[in-house]
């Protein structure tokens, strides 16, 4: 029986429980001599929760437990044979059995295959026709094991289903019996709701933990085969994708060219975005009339709403060729700016960052108290002097925080650099040449067919970890500065 059907049955039991509980409570309340505690539908909900929640928890625990149990039982059947065979590890063999079992499910119940073919050669084309590709070194002896696996899974699923339904019925029964006028159904229901709300808000923690652990494990894996100094101190990026099955060579995984490219492009972007964004924010906060502001501000914010892939395409199709042609016209020969270059990527990323800089700084500038402005103007300073000598110094910590946030966004930006910065891991100071970034290499290493054990793919997680730590550090520092600044005026 499928999970969906089981879920429907359990929810159905819960709904029936709600209706019965509600009716029973109404009956009791109508005839009760004492003052009832909760309204009837709270009793109904309590029955519903008692029926559904334990059954759901049981289902989750059972499916995880039975999966682990079946896996263990299957891998116990494997050992003697895998020792001397060509299959490297037991987990690989286990994966093949799983794949085979999944394929065998597709021909289950097909009268043509009442007797499952016992040889891999026979089975492979049959399964391929049904969309399951088998690994080429799958062994014949795995077929009975796979059949066994399916049988065990079926058994476990059946027992689990029966137990889950029994638990749901038991819960509903208990709930119905507990319906009394004085029983505190509302408090019970509300407690469950509060726990549910708490559970929802812990998802943020779980996500962070998930990010850190998933990357940490793979990074540790990576550093088992590649030395720390190769990664952190290496100046050459040459991961050497080995052909599948071939002896994987140790490539060179130097982080430095990638980090340099990332920082350089982000720097060019900030060099462009900060003056433009800051001046735009100052003008809108201090000079612009209400009407101009109400038109210009949303228009600039449109820039923030445009997906980065669109910026990437703009850089690739318009800005890159434009810069190349201009440099060709100036040099009179082949241009000195390449179509994919630090300048192209930085410029377009800068455009993307303008609205971030301007709206963050706008908020900070308007937060500077009116009295400081009035004091300065009253002493005879012009508006620009007030801005330069009074408002900006007062807003400086906040603006620095905002710039740090923007810079961390520039470092983590992916699509623009994927399309506009190039893939060659150069180490250069010339902004007219292509450089590559951490994010580009993460994408490069992880698109296409991959094998999760080779350092060539695992390096992406080490890069991701570096990126995460880098941006996290900048964000924490930025928040710290912003928070410190806020205290000055409150």
């Amino acid at each position: 029986m499928s999970w969906g059907l089981l879920l429907t049955i359990i929810v159905f039991i819960g709904v029936v429980g709600y209706v019965l509980g509600n009716a029973r409570a109404k009956n009791q309340i109508a005839t009760a001599t004492e003052k009832p505690h909760s309204r009837a539908h709270y009793h109904g909900w309590w029955v519903f929760l008692l029926a559904v929640l334990p059954a759901l928890f049981f289902m989750a625990a059972w499916s995880a437990g039975s999966y682990a149990y079946v896996d263990r039982a299957v891998s116990e059947q494997l050992p003697a044979q895998t020792e001397d065979s060509a299959i490297a590890s037991r987990s690989l063999a286990l994966g093949m059995v799983h794949n085979l079992a999944e394929g065998l499910r597709r021909i289950e119940g097909d009268p043509a295959f009442a007797q499952v073919p016992q040889s891999f050669e026979e089975l492979r084309p049959i399964l391929a026709e049904r969309g399951v590709a088998l690994a080429s070194d799958t062994q014949d002896y795995m077929i009975p094991i796979a059949l066994d696996l399916n049988a065990m899974q079926d058994n476990a699923a059946m027992i689990g289903t029966v137990l889950a339904i029994l638990i749901a019925l038991g819960g509903a029964y208990l709930g119905l019996r507990s319906v009394r006028p004085r029983s505190r159904a509302r408090n019970n229901v509300e407690r469950v709701i509060t726990w549910g709300l708490l559970a929802a808000s812990t998802i943020a923690i779980l996500t962070t933990v998930g990010i850190v652990f998933s990357m940490l494990f793979e990074t540790i894996h990576f550093f088992r085969s590649v030395s720390l100094s190769n990664f952190f101190l290496g100046t050459v990026w040459d991961p050497r994708f080995a052909a599948a099955g071939a002896e994987a060579q140790e490539g060179q995984f130097g982080l430095i060219p990638l980090l340099a490219g990332t920082v350089y492009i982000a720097f060019v972007a900030m060099l462009f975005a900060v003056p433009v964004g800051l001046m735009a924010a100052i003008y809108m906060a201090e000079y612009a009339s209400k009407r101009v502001r109400s038109v210009v501000k949303p228009l600039l914010e449109v820039l923030a709403g445009i997906p980065t892939i669109v910026y990437g395409f703009f850089a690739m199709v318009t800005v890159g060729p434009f810069l190349r042609d201009i440099s060709a016209a100036i040099a009179g020969g082949p241009g000195f700016i390449q179509a994919q270059s630090v300048l192209t990527a930085g410029l377009v990323m800068g455009i993307m960052l303008i609205p971030f800089v301007s709206s963050l700084s706008d908020d900070i500038i308007t937060a500077v108290p009116r009295a400081m402005r009035d004091g300065s103007l009253g002493l005879g300073a012009t508006r620009s002097e007030t801005i330069k000598r009074v408002i900006l110094p007062a807003a400086l910590p906040g603006i620095v925080g905002a710039l740090l946030l923007t810079a961390s966004r520039a470092i983590g930006e992916t699509m623009i650099v994927v399309l506009a910065a190039g893939v060659a891991a150069n180490l250069t100071l010339n902004p007219f040449e292509a450089m590559t970034t951490i994010t580009v290499k993460i994408v490069n290493q992880l698109t296409g067919d991959l094998e999760f054990t080779s350092p060539q793919t695992l390096v992406a997680f080490a890069l991701g970890m570096t990126l995460f730590v880098l941006t996290l550090g900048m964000n924490v520092f930025a928040l710290y500065i912003v928070r410190k600044y806020r205290e000055q005026y409150e």
Partner: protein, 439 residues
């Protein structure tokens, strides 16, 4: 007594030259500073205009596609020369349909059918997509075999580019993909109304294809829709529940602080990191299928959750405490207060935040690349577990294609994406203006 002596006669003080306080210079500086501000805004707006103009000027032609009107004779001698279709249904699937179209066009242009070279050039005018088009016609109604039908077929991508004027005709014939002979045919057919640009419905309905003229973003739109549904179904309830807890129930303790710090940090984590999370957790650990919109939806949910939580908390905070006090005073429990009174009043703000979060998720590309959405998917996914692709990923894939015709398609797809985003954001703005209450 003072030693001061009045020496100046009655020269008035006003006659003395005013002390020079550099007022002119200061005013000039003021003017300059103001100009910098105007210039900055102008630069920002200029780039916005340049971006939009670049996309539209490259892309508006994608909505029209050159087609050729043919009287195709479904000759039995070509489709099924040995009369086997009753016994072997595969015959109808594998027949040489392009030959039918080529023959029809050869007849229309009056080319000698024996001249192999010319016939090949005529065949080059027609898209290879004609194979599936004619096949589907025959398979759905085998009775048309032996009859002649008037059909609009797609011209090949190179012809389409030539008709739209995107091919440089100055270049020597050997170095361009459309020959002079083909150009003459195109001109005559255009004059006869046989060849014309028609609205490109295929762009919205077809799936991936390696030929620009038959490539469409239908599959990508469906994939994106699935993902948006998953994000809405998961992120909205979870986000609202988390915000309610943090705003209304959470005690001041370490756990609450930890949750708050985490939400703020997640909002600033680069999106590609979420892709790595999805790859490691959903695909490697939980064995969900690669390229499935379910995985994409889950990753985007985690990514938009902080946005929705932050917006919802702001909306909840905007509800004045007097509402809560009144409800509590009348004997409602805290849960009842929140769910019966605070939440309905905050609903417009929550909805606005959700729409903005969804728009963000719709345009996100990087995490989807890592979980295998870069896939050549020609068939519509029927469930969220089937391989699918997403609109921005489709744009990325087309952007990597070399042919000129794909630049046009990419820009067209971007226009569609931007249109979706604009509609969502404008809805959010209108909602905010119309429904949101000022306390």
């Amino acid at each position: 007594m003072s030693d001061a002596v009045y020496k100046g006669g009655n020269a008035p003080r006003a006659a003395a030259a005013r002390r020079d306080i550099g007022i002119k210079k200061r005013y000039a500086a003021e003017q300059r500073f103001r100009m910098y501000g105007v210039a900055a805004i102008a630069v920002g707006l200029f780039f916005l205009a340049a971006l939009l103009w670049s996309v539209v000027s490259n892309g508006y032609t994608a909505f029209w596609q050159t087609s050729i009107n043919l009287d195709v004779t479904f000759a039995e001698s070509v489709i099924d020369p040995n009369g086997e279709r009753a016994t072997d249904p595969n015959k109808l699937l594998t027949a040489n349909y392009p030959k039918l179209a080529t023959e029809a066009l050869v007849a229309k242009l009056g080319v000698d059918p024996e001249n192999r070279k010319l016939v090949r050039e005529v065949g080059g005018l027609i898209s290879n997509g004609v194979r599936t088009q004619l096949r589907d016609m025959v398979v759905s109604d085998p009775a048309i075999i032996g009859t002649t039908r008037n059909v609009w077929v797609l011209a090949s991508g190179d012809v389409d580019s030539a008709v739209k004027g995107q091919v440089n005709l100055e270049v020597d014939e050997s170095r361009r993909k459309v020959s002079d002979q083909q150009l003459t045919w195109i001109r005559t057919m255009e004059a006869d109304g046989v060849l014309e640009q028609r609205f490109n419905t295929g762009l919205f309905t077809r799936g991936a294809s390696s030929r620009p003229e038959t490539a469409g973003m239908g599959v990508a739109i469906v994939g994106s829709l699935y993902m948006m549904m998953i994000v809405l179904l998961l992120a909205l309830p979870i986000g609202v529940a988390a915000s309610i807890y943090l705003e209304e129930f959470a005690p001041q303790n370490k756990l609450t602080d930890l949750i708050e710090v985490n939400i703020n940090n997640l909002a600033a984590v680069p999106s590609i990191v979420f892709g790595l999370l999805g790859l490691a957790v959903f695909i490697n650990f939980m064995h969900l299928p690669r390229s499935a919109s379910l995985v994409g939806g889950l990753v985007l949910t985690l990514m938009t959750l902080p946005t929705i939580i932050i917006a919802t908390r702001a909306a909840l905070r905007a509800v004045p405490p007097s509402i809560r006090a009144a409800a509590l005073g009348l004997g409602a429990s805290r849960t009842q207060t929140v769910f019966h009174h605070v939440l309905p009043l905050a609903a417009p703000g929550i909805l606005t935040g959700t729409i903005i979060g969804l728009a963000q998720a719709l345009g996100e590309t990087a995490p989807l690349l890592l979980i295998g959405m870069v896939a050549f998917v020609a068939d519509y996914p029927t469930t969220p577990l089937d391989p699918a692709t997403a609109l921005p990923v489709q744009i990325y894939m087309w952007a990597n294609e070399a042919e000129r015709a794909f630049v046009e398609r990419t820009s067209g797809a971007i226009m569609v994406l931007l249109l979706f985003l604009a509609v969502m954001n404008i809805t959010a703005i209108i909602l905010r203006r119309r429904v949101e209450r000022r306390w």
